[in-house]
Symmetry: C2
Subunit: 376 residues, 2 copies
């Protein structure tokens, strides 16, 4: 929670649920990452939070963008990003989306299958392409390896086919999984990519770029490595595997740039005991899984929650959302405690809710509108 957000929430009694995003904090996160990776290009993965003020601020700072759809590309262009700083970073693209992107000047596309490569060749002739590899995602809270990436054999074959298809074989990418708490997974994957660079160079294909994906963490309840530590580890791995010939490096941070730059305020709707003997209280809030707090599923993301009664005596609680759906329970398994004084009408604050909240909100389930967004 930044002091600016805290002041804003204290000064305005906003209708809840709402989220407040501190654009200066996002700028600071971007500059810190830039300092940790001075030679890299930083392409913001806007799926984490596509708020237009965020895109505008980052575009002004010179950031690039990793877009998941034509609609996201369109948002980046509207925010002032030049097409050469936008990558179409989804391995699953409609032909119409590729055509639109190509017509708008986008020249960098990812693929991980022969079918997608052919689709790009047909709809974005001449484009630069990079192949997403599947890598180990040990350590990630949200691994992504099941659905995306291909193996070394297939990647080699496909990079060989690029020129015949009229495409530029430009680079290789991987994604070590979201919310990596340290640089080890990135370091291991860099070795795997370097071997492929070598093999392709031997065949006369000189790749230009390595895309290290995202996965850089935000701080929730548990400590995570500082971005400088990622910078040092990754630099070391690049030097070790590529020597003096380090290619262009692309990073696709999403969560890391925006996660800790926002906080969410919610009203307590009900605090109740489910039976006369159970000491556990149920705390029902006006936001839950269907209002955007999706990452609490399986209790993966453990947000810091503050209340007006912090410091007083506490007791065990289950925390749940406001809908008529039992799946809409945020924290039940972990031993959460909240102040005994907590009551309906109190306001609680979820820290570090900048990533993967606003766009996870459903389209009005149970009649509850998506949370209000404030950019300051």
């Amino acid at each position: 929670m930044t002091p600016k957000i805290e002041r804003f929430l204290d000064d305005h009694k906003l209708p809840t649920p709402c989220i407040v995003v501190d654009l200066d904090k996002i700028e600071q996160n971007y500059l810190d990452m830039h300092a940790a990776f001075p030679a890299a290009k930083i392409f913001y993965a806007l799926k984490a939070n596509p708020g237009q003020p965020i895109l505008q601020r980052l575009a002004q700072l010179g950031a690039g963008f990793d877009a998941a759809s034509w609609e996201e590309i369109d948002m980046c262009l509207a925010a002032g990003a030049p097409p050469e700083r936008i990558s179409f970073g989804n391995t699953i693209k409609k032909a119409t989306a590729i055509r639109r992107a190509h017509a708008a000047g986008i020249d960098l596309f990812v693929f991980d299958s022969p079918e997608e490569l052919e689709k790009i060749a047909e709809n974005a002739p001449g484009a630069r392409v990079f192949c997403r590899l599947v890598v180990a995602t040990d350590g990630a809270i949200f691994p992504l390896a099941r659905k995306f990436g291909t193996g070394t054999d297939m990647a080699l074959d496909l990079m060989h086919r690029c020129t015949d298809l009229g495409l530029v074989p430009y680079g290789l990418s991987f994604h070590p999984g979201s919310q990596q708490t340290g640089p080890e997974a990135h370091e291991a994957a860099i070795g795997q990519v370097a071997m492929l660079f070598d093999a392709l160079e031997h065949d006369g294909i000189q790749l230009k770029m390595i895309n290290l994906g995202g996965g850089f963490p935000s701080r929730y309840q548990d400590e995570v490595a500082h971005i400088e530590e990622f910078g040092r580890g990754i630099d070391r791995a690049l030097a070790y595997h590529f020597g003096n010939d380090v290619p262009e490096v692309l990073l696709e941070p999403g969560r890391h740039l925006v996660g800790d730059a926002a906080a969410l305020e919610s009203e307590v709707v009900l605090v109740s005991h489910r039976s006369k003997t159970d000491p556990t209280r149920w705390v029902y809030l006006d936001i839950g899984v269907f209002g955007g707090l999706n990452e609490t599923m399986d209790e993966n993301t453990r947000y810091v929650i503050t209340t007006p009664h912090d410091g007083g005596p506490t007791g065990p609680v289950v925390i749940a959302g406001p809908t008529c759906d039992s799946f809409d329970t945020l924290y039940e398994k972990t031993n959460n405690r909240m102040p005994l004084a907590l009551k309906a009408g109190d306001r609680v604050r979820f820290h570090a809710t900048g990533a993967y909240v606003t766009t996870y909100a459903t389209n009005g389930f149970n009649g509850f509108k998506p949370l209000a967004e404030h950019y300051i």
Copy 2:
């Protein structure tokens, strides 16, 4: 899939993803349920699908409504439902929502805790209230017992407090869990409720209503009991436990009225192999978990899917959505097969998507807008 929906989809090449809802089929489902339960009041649980044309059609037919929020009550009133046919059926209500409902003439509120009962007393003085009991949910695909309902002891206490609080102790309710495939759970719960009716009558409190909740199923891949079978089983249980003194019966069907009255059309974005040796193809569609097909989670709801190549040779597939999120995988564990001829650009149809789809769609995750809705 009704013939009317099929014709509509065949005649219009609609932008995908989209859903088509057959209002006549919803009317038929309502009339069938009415025939199976001639003495019951049917209150549609609009959380399943709050499409305004659905609410209008049901209001014209004389249905009541089970609303989860003030916003849902407002939708029912706008559709022409009189306030006396609306129940505020969420055990978690903001004080402001209760006040608004009361001011609009809503006179039936549920509770399952002392705190909520007091909140209703303060904000809707004089209202009729009913207490939700926790019951066994064996057989339900989506049990709801963790979050809602209270035990027999607490329910007795709370019904005793109603008069002192200025409220009318009106009835008892339960919910046997969503997508019950047979009437057994309802039958068992009726016995439990009848014992409480007796105990309260002995203390001079004469309840008027038993609310059997919802849980009535829709047909997906597997056979479910016909609504007449639910009618017979529940009638038998009511007669057995209440004799000649059966109270007013309320039903809150959601899924059952709308589930099989809609179909969804989606475009295949990519069909690919993840490696050279794996025979399983990945079929990526332009809709997935974040576009509304949330109930595929844990592969609970197994939709029937038809393609233009049905009848031809098939092979194993994993079915996934279009987003850069590995969680967005619909069916991976079950042994799904689809035609070998399936390719990008083909349109596939998901049957029986009327319930819990449109409102589960996220607010534009990855830039993909919520699916278009057509009511015919």
